[in-house]
Point group: C2
Chain length 416, copies 2
């Protein structure tokens, strides 16, 4: 099955919107063993979009079109697909009912133009959109498939995962060669360091191995092409084991694992509560921890002690410590961690103080210098880090390092 992804949207061709949808969909199709030959982006222009749809239907078996399903006159995808296939546009009552409900919840009537979103080329399998008003659709013409999806990733991705993925999975021949992928996630090593450590493994072809730099962590992607799922699993397991033997606990997870997800599971499992004291990250650690629904079970909250007064006032950091060692120091980090643990009555208190830049650095304390403190029942400790990059990078690396410390601490815990 040969696929092609078409994005429509003038905003992409003005350089205002980055097309992340093609990237997302390609990754998913790769998992299914469906090869993607082309990505095309075209503006909301009738002639050009019609031409691209026609060309796609000629050269590919599967066409995924994102964008152009909305309520405005510029939204043309469904209409042009109908025209190309010689189909009528028909009203889908269920979609209309959902659009009415969407507006009713917001206390208003459906404006007339919004109803355009409930019309589809005849014979469409309509895919409900839980996060917006423009549903998706699947059409079949002989042995070719056309999939229409809304443009915004927050609407497109859930529809793809819920409806399109299982639909295609059923239609990919089971004996076809699939790309079996595993991602090994690594923290605390740069690309160069990782390359050096894995040098002899990187030459192996089965599975193939690629290093991907993902901002605050590194990913190792293993690919093994085979129609034999069991053999693939065996091969990938073998490669993962070889990597883990070299990298030890710098491997924190695989595939869908996230650092905050693992920390969250660990805290629940061990029955531990956590509180945070942040300076240069300004609340980012708290924000990341509370991305996880139900985080109130173990996360009590914390203090953003951006100013020295708050470090003293809320956390009890000694004036003397601040004067003698400075706000960005091992001692301040330790007192912050101890302070938040006691004040919040938490099992674990974690603290962050550093220089995120771009200003505020000196020879002695350069931009990227960060101290992280951890207070537990066993006492308090602080560690020094030197990160590099932009303000945003340094803050993200700091948050990831703080979470990683909690993860490592728990890996040595008794279950509570």
């Amino acid at each position: 099955m040969k696929a092609e992804i078409i994005a429509t949207g003038t905003e992409i061709l003005l350089g205002q919107t980055l097309n992340t949808s093609a990237h997302y969909i390609t990754g998913k199709l790769s998992e299914l063993g469906i090869e993607v030959d082309y990505h095309t982006t075209v503006g909301d222009n009738k002639e050009r979009l019609r031409y691209i749809i026609g060309q796609g239907l000629e050269r590919s078996d599967l066409l995924v079109i994102t964008g152009g399903t909305g309520p405005t006159r510029d939204d043309l995808s469904k209409e042009l697909v109908a025209e190309t296939l010689g189909l009528e546009m028909v009203l889908d009552q269920d979609s209309l009912a959902r659009i009415e409900e969407f507006f009713a919840q917001r206390g208003s009537k459906v404006p007339e133009w919004e109803k355009k979103q409930a019309y589809f080329p005849q014979g469409s399998l309509v895919l409900p959109n839980p996060n917006g008003t423009a549903p998706g659709a699947i059409l079949q013409k002989e042995d070719k498939y056309i999939i229409l999806l809304p443009g915004p990733p927050s609407e497109m991705e859930p529809i793809f995962q819920e409806h399109v993925y299982p639909f295609l999975e059923k239609r990919v021949p089971t004996d076809s060669t699939r790309m079996n992928v595993r991602v090994i996630k690594v923290i605390g090593l740069s690309e160069g360091e990782l390359e050096e450590k894995l040098a002899h493994l990187l030459n192996s072809l089965e599975p193939s191995m690629t290093l991907l730099s993902k901002h605050s962590e590194m990913h190792i992607r293993l690919i093994f092409r085979s129609s034999d799922q069991e053999k693939a699993k065996e091969k990938l397991d073998g490669a993962e084991l070889a990597i883990r033997e070299i990298l030890g606990d710098m491997v924190y997870g695989t595939d869908e694992d996230t650092m905050v997800g693992l920390v969250s599971e660990g805290l629940k499992e061990y029955g531990l509560t956590l509180a945070t004291a942040e300076s240069c990250t300004g609340g980012m650690l708290g924000e990341v921890l509370t991305q996880v629904p139900g985080s109130s079970e173990y996360y009590l909250g914390g203090v953003i002690s951006y100013s020295n007064d708050l470090k003293a006032g809320f956390l009890g950091v000694q004036q003397e410590t601040l004067e003698k060692h400075g706000a960005v120091s091992k001692n301040t980090a330790m007192e912050m961690a101890k302070g938040i643990r006691e004040k919040a009555k938490a099992d674990l208190g974690i603290s962050i103080t550093g220089i995120a830049g771009p200003g505020g650095g000196s020879l002695e304390k350069p931009v990227g210098l960060v101290y992280i403190g951890l207070a537990t029942q066993r006492g308090v400790e602080a560690r020094k880090f030197q990160f590099h990059g932009s303000r945003d990078s340094i803050r993200q690396l700091t948050v990831q390092a703080a979470l990683d410390w909690i993860r490592r601490y728990m890996s040595k815990c008794e279950r509570g």
Copy 2:
């Protein structure tokens, strides 16, 4: 001048690499008034890449090709362009010298295969690459241009900025029609509400007007095509004024303005300090405020009072208030704002308490219910909001609403 951007690279078509180059180049070409009709991505496949190059030369005046200029057998762009145009590949001595120097600096000789990067289609204007070994090139065929660039953005972007941009700037006729763009940024209205308010303006064609939903805000994009810059400014000013007359202070800014940027400038201008007390946003407001370098000038910090104990302990919220009205209530929001303002000795104290979901909602207090409190020298006030969407959406909308309240408050201030 009609342009088309072609990316080649199997890693993009495996979903492993996000194609940011097309986005970057499109933005730059838009600045120059060069319209981009298509983005195409194709793998490192001879037949398909040859076809795409041929198609591009037929339908566009300017072809920008990224990727496929490197040393491996898979790198085919230069060779296929030469083939399509009927040109020989010739050695560029300067490029060879630079490649030799690159390896000499790293203490090694140039491997034979690396020399491929010093060959170009005859007649190329070679563009040196200060950050890698694969140079770029510009070719002209009659009145069409083909630009070849390396794939990695860190190599491509400097070459584009240094060589390609000025090259094209000289060749865009000064009297050519440019796309003049202005973006008006709006907060507190849904797409539907905005569409209704602007219905009569949306039909106007000069400038054209498009609504873009940007998660926690709406953007109105105005485009006026003209070679006359002054006339364009006048037209865009007129349209902006008409929009502002309808929307009033729901328009918060234009173009490069951001909500947090404006709040930050306002706080500095009025000499006000700010402290935050966050519950359901878990630190996101603090995180956003501290994205701005130098934010310590006005942002003192705050409390993430995720648990009720911290609301009472750090902020002095009354146990009675929590029991009688609940943590998510007007009264709690008011006491939180008042508490953080006093404890942090700030001019402004802002508080957030709400239900971000997906769990924790009830009929009386549904998911998306949020109270925001603002304490100032004039007293304390809290407002109720009902947001919709995912946990992440609700949190982002909340932060944006909190920042917007500070912006509106300051717009009624005396300068300090």
